[in-house]
Every structure is written in structure tokens, then in C-alpha cells.
Subunit: 578 residues, 2 copies
């Protein structure tokens, strides 16, 4: 079901109950772009550590925005022992209206991403005209504070305005005449009509602010006067045209306040859906979730933190129980059974033997995605739905092969899926295939990896030559004068450093172990100019805790979120990749 | 007439003749946003100098892109003594296809701007799917060089590829087996299918590059091998999947080269239109042109220069003869006759007395914008058309009131409009209402303006107090501890500095003349960390020349552009504004 501004309120009203009754939900998002920089610094590397990868996503992707959010709600119906599904496809677009304190969002687009979505039938006109707005908790709070201040200021001036056109005190005539002349100029100035939201800003002291409201405002019933407190340099009174309004039938300032507070509610918009998902405590399933989670958190919850540990805390706060089906699909036993973990292909594989038929019934009033002759790939709702189906198929399979006698029909409750909780798939890193959000990340041995620095005139053959006695190597550039060198034959790792002492190396060349590289980077990270990403590895000896208090509280959670016990050794991924 | 990818080639073919026969053209553009920063630094000020204003536009707007370009061609038909019009409305969107060397454009959008355009009926789906791509001269050159290098490299390898599957030299076995294993891994690696344009990069020396093409490429007929030269660190061979292709019927590499060079032509796309306008040497008319000109130059010609003088040179190169109707409308005699210079309102005023009826006939096959019951305001084509009508109306009026006996019917040729050539309207700056692109800018007396610095705890009332003996003042903040102070009574200007010597001022406070402020800023500008905008004023004593040689040459101009004599004293704008 497509959800836009026109039916959002209706959907929102039923969502609490839907989530209350849900067994689990699956999600997917579509963005305006994937990566904003093409330089080496944000390029993914197969040696990325989790903090490095997070930093690259943060730097390279956070200016793009989510424009579609798929929410697929699965409820296990015991009477028919099948899952019943309701899928919502939300169109999401930043606020385009003007409300004091509401920012006019600027976001980045990647031409190829928009082109791809358009080729898949994405309706951008619907998006911009009918998209649901959103505010994260921080921006919502800011807006409320501004409107509250405004209300107080209006209240303050409501008495003063009764002394309409009262005589100007002699000692203030100069100041007030100057203000009145500015307002007159503003009214007459044709330039201000170039854009309908033209404003005049009057900077003044607190006492002058009072004078403006008592002696200038009453003269201009068709102008809106707003006062905003300013630190150090006094107040600013903002004057706006309101269009031709009859001052007799104009709503009272209290009415305006109510209307504006309702506007805040309207503008929180889609963020409510995310808060409801958090509050429900239900299992959230996604596929290849890193970008989804980063964008969902940053756009609808609070600005993303710089620090990777803080990011873990934030994920645990807003998504206390999630599973990434790409982690499942690339982990034993599935990695040996599935050729491909790309979503559509994954579904195809899971629809055949040895996997059980996935029976999901669309709820009444909801169209069936499975009946559709044209699959809606890359529509967020559709992708969320098939992610849920993939999850059910893989969970079914785990039940099927388990030695346990009591098989679980409602597989979202299966103990066999718990090892996959709180893990986010990391593309392209064979020895750290996922981020572990609930505890310390994997730290595979990288004893066969070395960090090499060399003169700028060196070419790759010089590096090959340097390592030639240790067999073939793989080179990953980290800059124009440095690279990671990975030995193909791990057994040669122990000979490298002793063979490459400073005296034996060419001038301007150094070779250090991967561990020494990390230590050096970690030390540099304490300098302010350096990125403190790797240092966080040191602090990961104990599981990351959820610092709910770090974020503005959305609402009391409806249920206590169960603390899930993780067994990270189960279905462990092989660190062999070469 | 809407122009998209589907009819662009047809329109382009007729455009040379259309422009050849044109009397003048008018243009308008629509952008994805107006200003990207909300801080004080890019906020427009009524005291902005032209270089400061340019800098603000450069910093605040250059990440947005033009998505619609209106080109309205007016031809004076002597037989009917009327203008005949052809208006084109081009949809423009960055390239979304993949071609080596072609960048995947990222651009900024402002939510309110997209919302506004959507509310006016702008079709974003048409834009993204059917928009015409573009390349500026610099990017076009880059792409040509890359493809030329590729062709040479392919030519080099065409002999080698005949020795298919030749035996690997013994001393290179290690290297080549490593490469082959990487290619095999790439082929099998499911991750690479996550996006259809997955690539494998092989970094190597020039000699190894040869080996890859002679010994590895022939083994994989379904993979595309491309070599890109890399400075210092050797070559990179890029390997891509091509989909299942029959290698027998696969086009030859020479065919590929021709196809790719055609792709370059296709991607230069809309930029050709701008080059044709430049080459035509015809008068270009726009309305409030600063943003239009900046975006047109940056997007379709070459990256915008940092320096304001260089910008003037660039404008003169690509638009050697232009008129901004907003400069006309806000200058005597029109400023006294017109209430409003906003485009639609301007047209309304110009349709009534004392202005002559503007008769413009739509050319055969072109719809008439004047007949339309619903005006298409803010469609670039429509706005370009009405800009042209406004120009004709104002030029007619100048003829009507002139003392000359020989009235000109084809008013674009009137000597009376030449004073308006090469001037760009500057919003909100009453004493410098336009940038003078063909020569030195206006330098009005700002003797009644002072630059004041003060302690951070100061409020506006402290500044009012400081100047109280000199009458009322206007304060324009330039930072938390500095502001411009403008005296209302200019006659008091001479007393200020003598009254405010250091000994008489409060601690931490200084007052300098506007001139001294400019000098100080100009001196600071020579330091590398400062913005060198104001210093350029010093060098503007002689008219700016068109440095055509600074830009990649588009094509020989078809006609010699006449050197227009400017008479800047005619219709001079009053510098009085208070």
C-alpha cells in the first residue's frame, strides 16, 4: 500500500495495533544517492575495519536522503500456521512549507541513482508533491522551543497591542521613526515580492523590541511581527507579509499557536513511524542494512555520531533487535547453499529445494506482491516484503536441519536465529564480514598483512619486487606513497619483518606489521586533526551498552525490550578468503 | 516547445539557422535550489560590493544545477514589422549512463525549490528520464583524452591478442597466476553482482599491463578489459562484466571507439546549445540574470573562477552582448513608471499605457504562449518568452520618448538600449544596483558608512548610543563583534571620525571609515587564508577584456562580435536610497 501525505494520518492511527500484533517487521529504503566522493579516502577496501567502514559511510553518504521507506509487517496466524502480511510503501520528502524554525532542507542527489529509480518506475512527482515530511528528535525539540518562546513573547505583547497607536515617547521618536521608515520601505519595496516569503529583520535591544511591538506592530495589521531572542547582540524582530487578510476575522494568536503546534506534529511526520517501530520492541529484519540503518537514524532519530562506538549505542537504542538477512545468507550453513546473496537472486534460490515453500498471505485490503506479474524490484515496500520472505525461508531451514525435536512453526521465535541478532553486513571485507553491534567486533589475524610506505616514484612492480621472495602478494593502495601488502602464502608471514629491517630496505621505504600500523593510527587519532576511528577498537573489550539517555527520549517504550543472549560462535564465518 | 532527449537532435540541427536569422534571444533557467548556506557569511547585504556578491553566489549556489532552460528566439519580420517567436523549453539532467571517464554527477537540491516547481506543474519524471545531458568544455576535453588513450592502448593490444592463450613466460607465472586468480574470484564473487556495474581494478606496471592484455584478456571473452594510465603508481586495468555476449558477433574495438566518441557527442548534449548561442553573437536578454549566468557558465561552459574579474572576463567571452531587463526596469525612466520589477508583474505593467502594444507572432508549429488561458509562470520557456516581450516593450518606449526623428521599428537594433549592455542586476544594493561586466563597477560614495568593532557583549542599543549624537543610524551586522553603521543624515558624516578617536571610544571598540575598511580587507586579501574578492576593485580602472584564450575554444565564432560602445552615463541610476 502506497502511503503519502493524503493517507498518512489514517495509516499512522492503525500502526500501533499493527505493530502490537506483529511477529516481526522487515524494512527497506531507497536513497537519492549512494556515495558522494570518488576520492580514495571514502573508497571501500577489503581491509576496512568496522570503525573505518562506518567513517567512510558517514563521510560519503550522509548528505543523501531516504525518499522511500518500505515497512512490511508479518503476523503469524496460529489458526492457519502461516504468516499474514501488510506492506506499506511510504513516500518521504523533506518539509517544503515555511514555519519559523523549520529548516529548508538541502540534500544531495546522485544522477545515476535517480536515473536508476526512475527507470524502475519511481514516481518523483508523487514524491515531491505528496511525500511525507519528517523531523528528527533534535530538530523537533528545537522547533518546539522556538514556538514556545514565540508564544510567550506573543502573550507578553498581547496587552501592549491594546494600546493601539499610542503616542511615541519623545526620547524614542528617532528610533521608532527609523523603524517605521524601514517597514514602509519594506512594504513598498518591490524586490521583496520577488519571493513570497520575503522578510524584514529588525535588530534591536530587548527594550526596543518592546517598543516595536507596542508602537509599530499595531500600525500594520497585515504584517506578521515575530520576535526571536538573540544572544549577545540583542533581539531580532522578523516582519513578514501575510497576504491580504481581514484583521477582523484573523485568527487569534492563541489559535495560531495551536495551529503551529499541530504543524510541528505534522512535520514530525514519518519519524513517528520509526519511533513506533522502536517502541514496539519487535524484531526488525533488513537486507544489507548498513546504509539503511545510518540513513534511518540520521534522518528520523538524531544526527549520526562521529564515533563508531556511539553509533553502536545509537543502533542498539533505536533498533534493539534486528537481523540482517545478508549476514545470514553469507554465513554457514547458507553460504554453501546459495550462489548469490543479492536480494532478488536470494529469493529465487530460497524458493527452490532444499528450502521449504514460503507461504505468506496478504492481509485483507492489501495487494499481494506475490501475485503480481511484474515484480516491483527496488520499490522499498516490495524489497522489504521479500526481505521478510527470505528471513522466513532461512529460519525455516534452520529449524528443518536442527536436531531439536520440537520444531517451531513461528520461526521468528526460533532460538536458532538469535546468533544473527545485531550484526550488520560489511561488503567486501572477507575476514570481518559483519559489524557486531551488540559487542566487540571480530578481530581476525592480519599477520600476513603489512603496511608499506615508499617513495612517490615507486610503481606496483617495485612493491612486487620488494616482496618477491615471499611469493605473490596483493596490493591495496592507501595513498600515493603507501599501501597494504597481503601475502598470498600466510606461512611466509613470519619471515617478512626480519628480512625487511631498515638497513636492508631501499631508501625512503618502510614495512611494518598491520598491528603496528593500527597502533600508530590509534596514537595519531588522539591528535585533533586525525580521525579517531581506529582508537575505538581499544575500547571494545566489553560489549557496548545502549545509552538511551544520550538521545532525546521519543516516548516510553510500550514493552521492555528483552535482552537477547548472543552466541557469536554459532555459525561463525570462516576468516579464510584467499 | 518542450525539448527532451527524444527530439533534441532534431532541434539542434535547425538551431544554427534559427540563431543566424534571429534578431535577439531571451533566456531563463530553473534550478534545483537557490542558496545552500543559511549562515551569515553568504547572506546578502545591502552593502555588498559586486565582488562580495559574486563570492556569495559562488559559495552559496554553485552546487545546485539547472534543470530547465528556456530559449526564446525573436526574429523581426520586416514585411509585417513584427517579431516572430520560437520558444524552446529544454529539460536538462546530468548524464545517468556509464561511460569510462564520465563522472556520476552529484548535485544539491533545496526542498522548498523542488516543492515550488512541482506545485507549478514541473514534471520531474520527465526530467530524470528524458532530460538532456551536458558536459562543460573541461569535462568534455577530459573525456576525449581518456577515450583517445584507451583507443591507443587497444590498438597496441590488438596485435597481442592474436597470440591467444600464448604460454605464460616462466618468470611471470607468479604475477599472472595471481591476476588470473583475482579475475576468477571476481567472476565468482556474488558481491560484485550487487550492482550491475561492478568492476575489478588491477594495479600494475606498464609492462605488467601488457602481459594482462596479452595473456589474461584472451581467456575471458565476456569480460571487458580497459587500461587507464596512472601517474607515478603505474597503470590500472579495469575489468568489467559485459553480460553474456557472443564473442563472434561482438563489435570490433574500432567500432567501440566510434560508438564511444558518439557517446561523447551525445553527452556534450545541451552545452552545444549554449555554445551555439555564444557563436551566434546575438543579443541575449534575461531577467535578474546573476544566478542564471553563473549556473549557465559553470554547468555548460567551464568551472566558475574564484576571482570576480575572471568572472567578468568569462561572461564577456560567452555572452559578449546581453541585457538584463531587471536593470532596465529599475533604471530611469522605467523606475518611475513601473511599480514592480518582478517578471510577471513587470509584464502586466508593460501591457498597459503608456506602453505600446507588444505584438509578437508565434512561428508556425510553435504554440502561442499569449493565447494560453493558464499562464505557465516559472516554466523556463515561458519566462524566457515574457522576458523577451518585456524587453521589446521597454525598447519601444525608449524609441517613443526619444527626440530622434528616425524611429527604429526593430527595437533590438535601437541605439537607445546599448547603455544597458553587460550589466547584471544586483538585488538589494540600492547604491550599486548592477554589476558592470564590461568595465569598472560603480563606486558610490559610502562616506556615511562606518565599520565598527566592539566587545562581544555589546547589543545594538550600545551601537545606537555610540552614534546617538549623529542622529539615527542603520546597523548591518558583519559578525558577532562587528557591524556596518550607516548614518541616516549624510551631512553628519564628516563629524564622526573626529568625534570617535581612540581615546574617546569605549575599550575594545573601534570605528573606521568604509574606505579604510575596504583597504584593510584588500590588504588581508593578499594573505592566502583570506578571500581575495575586494582587492579586485583596485584593478578595475580599465575595462575588463574578454580573455577568450583562458577557456577551451568551443568553435570559431560565426560572426565577429561587434564592439558595443557603452555610454554608462545615460539613464544613470540615482545612488540615493535612503
Amino acid at each position: 500500500m502506497d502511503v503519502t501525505k493524503s493517507n498518512f494520518q489514517t495509516v499512522l492511527e492503525t500502526l500501533d495495533d499493527e505493530l502490537e500484533n506483529a511477529s516481526f517487521v522487515s524494512i527497506d529504503t531507497e536513497f537519492t544517492g549512494l556515495n558522494s566522493t570518488e576520492g580514495r579516502s571514502n573508497k571501500l577496501s577489503s581491509l576496512d575495519t568496522p570503525p573505518e567502514r562506518y567513517k567512510k559511510v558517514l563521510n560519503g553518504s550522509s548528505q543523501f536522503v531516504i525518499i522511500q521507506f518500505g515497512l512490511s509487517i508479518f503476523r503469524f496466524d496460529n489458526s492457519i500456521t502461516k504468516y499474514v502480511n501488510k506492506t506499506y510503501n511510504f513516500y518521504i520528502f523533506p518539509n517544503t512549507s515555511t514555519l519559523p524554525g523549520l529548516c529548508d532542507t538541502k540534500f544531495l542527489c546522485q544522477a545515476s541513482s535517480l536515473g536508476f529509480l526512475a527507470s524502475q518506475g519511481f514516481d518523483f512527482n508523487k514524491l515531491i508533491i505528496e511525500g511525507i515530511p519528517y523531523l528528527n528528535l533534535v530538530d523537533e525539540e528545537k522547533l518546539r522551543v522556538i514556538l514556545e518562546k514565540k508564544r510567550k513573547s506573543l502573550h507578553l505583547h498581547s496587552d501592549a497591542s491594546s494600546s493601539e497607536l499610542s503616542e511615541i515617547p519623545a526620547d524614542q521618536k528617532g528610533f521608532l521613526n527609523n523603524i517605521i521608515s524601514k517597514v514602509e520601505t519594506f512594504l513598498q519595496n518591490e524586490e521583496n515580492e520577488e519571493r513570497s516569503n520575503a522578510i524584514l529583520e529588525l535588530h534591536c535591544s530587548t527594550s526596543h523590541n518592546e517598543l516595536i511591538f507596542s508602537h509599530v506592530k499595531p500600525r500594520y495589521p497585515n504584517l506578521l511581527f515575530e520576535s526571536s531572542k538573540k544572544s549577545n547582540s540583542g533581539c531580532t524582530v522578523i516582519v513578514k507579509k501575510t497576504g491580504i487578510r481581514n484583521s477582523k476575522t484573523e485568527p487569534s494568536e492563541t489559535d495560531n499557536y495551536v495551529v503551529e503546534m499541530q504543524k510541528v506534529e505534522d512535520n514530525v511526520g514519518f519519524s513517528r513511524v520509526v519511533r513506533k517501530i522502536t517502541d514496539s520492541g519487535k524484531l526488525v529484519v533488513g537486507h544489507n542494512m548498513l546504509l539503511d540503518l545510518c540513513h534511518i537514524l540520521g534522518q528520523f532519530c538524531a544526527p549520526l555520531p562521529e564515533d563508531y562506538d556511539d553509533f553502536k549505542g545509537m543502533v542498539n537504542t533505536f533498533f534493539p533487535r534486528f537481523i540482517d538477512t545478508k549476514v545470514m545468507a553469507t554465513t554457514k550453513p547458507f553460504r554453501d547453499l546459495l550462489q548469490n546473496s543479492v536480494l532478488e537472486r536470494l529469493l529465487s534460490s530460497l524458493l527452490a529445494a532444499p528450502f521449504r515453500t514460503i507461504e505468506v498471505i496478504p492481509a485483507t485490503g492489501f495487494p499481494s506482491y506475490t501475485d503480481s506479474t511484474t515484480p516491483k524490484n527496488h520499490e522499498a515496500g516490495y524489497d522489504a516484503f521479500i526481505t521478510g520472505r527470505c528471513f522466513i525461508a532461512m529460519a525455516n531451514y534452520l529449524e528443518d536441519i536442527s536436531a531439536s525435536k520440537s520444531k517451531t512453526a513461528a520461526v521468528h521465535e526460533s532460538q536458532l536465529v538469535t546468533p544473527f541478532y545485531q550484526k550488520i553486513f560489511m561488503m567486501m571485507v572477507p575476514d570481518i564480514p559483519y559489524m557486531t553491534i551488540s559487542g566487540p567486533d571480530l578481530e581476525p589475524s592480519r599477520e600476513h598483512v603489512f603496511h608499506v610506505t615508499f617513495p612517490s616514484e615507486w610503481k606496483i612492480q617495485d612493491i612486487f619486487h620488494l616482496f618477491s621472495v615471499h611469493g605473490t602478494v596483493r596490493v591495496d593502495w592507501t595513498g600515493d606513497t603507501s599501501a597494504f601488502v597481503t601475502l598470498h602464502r600466510k606461512e611466509n608471514s613470519h619471515f617478512v619483518l626480519s628480512a625487511m629491517t631498515e638497513s636492508k630496505l631501499p631508501v625512503g621505504c618502510s614495512v611494518i606489521s598491520y598491528k603496528a600500523y593500527l597502533n600508530r593510527k590509534s596514537q595519531n587519532a588522539t591528535l585533533p586533526s586525525e580521525v579517531p576511528d581506529l582508537s575505538s577498537r581499544k575500547r571494545l573489550s566489553s560489549p557496548v551498552e545502549c545509552n538511551v539517555s544520550d538521545f532525546p527520549s521519543p516516548k516510553k517504550t510500550r514493552k521492555d525490550v528483552k535482552n537477547v543472549k548472543l552466541n557469536k560462535d554459532q555459525f561463525v564465518v570462516s576468516a579464510d578468503w584467499d
